[in-house]
Structures are given as structure tokens and as C-alpha cells.
Amino acid sequence: MDSEDRRLIAQYREGDVESLSTLVEKYRRPLFGFILNMTEGKGDADDIFQETWFRAIRGLASYRQKNFMGWLVRIARNLVIDRHRRQRPGVSLDARHEEDGSPLIELADRAPGPLGRAATRDDISAVALAVESLPGEQKEVFLMRVQAGMSFREIAVTQKVSINTALARMQYALTKLRPLLRAEFENQRETP
């Protein structure tokens, strides 16, 4: 946790509400982006974002973690999983397995499918579509790394797996994204 976060949390504990508003503002975009990419649409993302902060505010009194963003992402992830379980009860988490042998948990309900969603969302790019097509755990690792800026150690702790499993999931995600995004990154390589 950077010193600014530590200072803001300490000030909020002392009763300064404005310092919490600063924290919310600081992490608004990356946290909401992570939640938005893990859920079905803005309504769900709004609910989970709000509940994440409610829980964070309640837990701030006893907060001892090192990475504040990592902590927020962990709360948000648990809420996403809870919501997913409520929406689809009886889905066995062991039914399918990923290539690295870990159980596949489909965090976002991709019922309409990426292409179907793309038809309803004009702003979605090829990259976002490709990311959305990743299996749940790989997508989660990719988003935690790219969008939330978490380290692999933090990702491993969040997913309750070893750091090697987290790295393997990222490798699989990149391997799947590479052909899908070949045109995108070829363009990027050409532009200096």
C-alpha cells in the first residue's frame, strides 16, 4: 500500500470523511472497470461497486493489508462469485476443468456470448471481445493484472492458488489472445 493510501485510511479512521471520498475517486475507474468486465452489464457492476465500498468502509477499522486495490478487488471478486451463484444455483464448480487442471469457474455469465453482446454494445472492441471469450479464471487473472495492476503474488492470494498457477493462467490467456489480437498488436508494433 502506498503512503498516500495509508495516510487517507488513517485520516478516515480519525473521522475525516473527505479522505475516503479521495480514496473512492482514486480507485473508481480501475475497480469499476474490473467489475464491469467481470459482470453482466452496468446495473450489476453498479450494485457490486457500491457493495464493495460498503464492505470496505465497514472493514477499514481493522484493515491491515498491504495493497488497498488488491483488497478491493478481492472483495469485488467475492461479490461477483456470490452473485453468479445466486443467479445460477446448482452449477457444479468441478464440472469442467481448465488446461492447468484447476476447476473452471465461469464468473461472468456469458449466456448471450461475446458476439451476441458485441451486437448490443457498439463500443466493444476486438480486444474486449477477445478478453471476454477467455475462460473465467484466465480472464480474471488477465483483468486483475492488466486492469487492476495487481502483482502475481496478490493475484495468487486472491484466487487462493500458487503463484505458478496464476502465472500459468496468464500464459494461457495470452496464448489464446495472441491469434485473436494478431492484427491489433501488429498495428501497434508498426506504429513507433
Binding site: Y12, R13, G15, D16, V17, L20, S21, V24, R28, R29, F32, G33, L36, N37, K42, A45, D46, F49, Q50, W53, F54, I57, R58, L60, A61, D123, I124, S125, A126, V127, A128, V131, F142, L143, R145, V146, Q147, S151, F152, R153, N164, L167, A168, M170, Q171, L174, L177, R178, L181, E184, F185, Q188, R189
Partner: protein, 201 residues
């Protein structure tokens, strides 16, 4: 070195989680391996493309207002509890210190065990004295009870007095009277000369 390992090291290097020693080995490998260099470049390109293209958005204003309201509410609750907490801290500390003192005092003032283990020790002393008397007088005495079969305390006391040459019928006043009946000798320290041993039987 396997390129699969180098790919993982490349990922860890980006997050600053790779040790300096491995960082050096990674750089050496990347200079020599076209495949790993291409993998690193494509990974960086994908990450950069995703970073800009992933849905970001912002939460609704209602959500932000709700969060601020919750923050104010919790801060107010915490402020109400704070004075109590501030009072409780020294009180709980003092209570813990008092408990420690009471425990230490209890240990210090605990009853010490009686070094004289009553009948058993008295019986042993009596046996020693009897054996001594038998040795000096050439026998003829009745052995008192052994330590395994202790006599009653009164019986032992009278035997002890008899061995010291005194009659059990003497009263305590007579025993204390200076110049009267001779004082009993301490059988352990023998601070006074013992009277001639009385022969039993």
C-alpha cells in the same frame, strides 16, 4: 533453459517480482533467444492494447452518493464509540496489571509445606534412637513400630520421651521448669547431653 520458464520470468519481471539474479539470467536469455523476445514483445503489445480497449466506464452518480453517505454514517458511528474505546484502553490495561499483581501475590503468599512430615518422620527418628539405644545397651528392648507401620502420634511421643530418659507422665510445666526435671534433648541436633537411655522391658 526452457522458454516456458523464461515466459513466466518475463511476466514476473514486468511486475517487479523477479529476483535480481534471475533478472540478469532473463536478460542474457532474451539477447540470445528470438522466440522469447518475440513472446515478450507480443505480450507487451497485447497488454497495452487491452489496457486501452477494455471497458472502463464509471459508476452512476447515485452509487457514488450512496457510498459517501455510508462513509459519513460509519464515521459518525465510529466517533460515538471512540470516547468509550479511549476510556476502555487504560482501564483494561490496569485490570490486566492488577490481575498480574494478584497472581504474583498469591504465589508469594502460598502456604509453605510443613518440613516435618508428622508421624512418618517421628517414627523414623524413633527407630534411629531405638537402634542407637539397643547398640549401647546390648539389646533387651522392644522395638517400636517401623516407619511402614506408624504408631499413633501420642504413642510415638511417649516413646520418644522414654528414649530420652523422661517419663511421658511429666507435665509440660514440669519439663519447662528450670532446675526441676531435665529438659528434653533435641534428638536431631543433640544440643544438650542426653540422659542415660532407659532400658525397656
Amino acid at each position: 533453459m526452457r522458454c516456458k520458464t523464461i515466459e513466466r520470468w518475463t511476466l514476473l519481471d514486468r511486475t517487479g517480482e523477479l529476483s535480481p539474479r534471475r533478472h540478469g539470467r532473463l536478460q542474457t536469455h532474451l539477447k540470445a533467444c528470438d522466440h522469447c523476445r518475440a513472446w515478450r514483445d507480443s505480450t507487451e503489445a497485447i497488454t497495452a492494447a487491452a489496457h486501452g480497449a477494455l471497458a472502463t466506464g464509471t459508476p452512476s452518480e447515485v452509487t457514488m452518493v450512496n457510498i459517501r453517505r455510508e462513509a459519513r454514517l460509519r464515521a459518525r458511528e465510529a466517533a460515538r464509540k471512540r470516547p468509550l474505546t479511549l476510556w476502555l484502553r487504560p482501564i483494561s490495561g490496569l485490570a490486566a496489571a492488577a490481575l498480574c499483581l494478584i497472581a504474583m501475590g498469591g504465589w508469594w503468599m502460598r502456604p509453605t509445606p510443613d518440613p516435618f512430615d508428622g508421624q512418618a518422620q517421628l517414627s523414623t527418628i524413633l527407630m534411629m534412637l531405638t537402634e542407637e539405644a539397643m547398640g549401647s545397651e546390648g539389646g533387651g528392648t522392644t522395638l517400636p513400630a517401623t516407619a511402614d507401620e506408624p504408631l499413633s502420634l501420642d504413642a510415638l511421643a511417649s516413646e520418644l520421651l522414654a528414649l530420652q530418659g523422661m517419663d511421658a507422665s511429666y507435665t509440660e510445666a514440669e519439663l519447662r521448669e528450670p532446675g526441676g526435671v531435665p529438659q528434653a534433648t533435641d534428638p536431631l541436633t543433640r544440643s544438650r547431653p542426653a540422659l542415660p537411655a532407659r532400658i525397656y522391658g
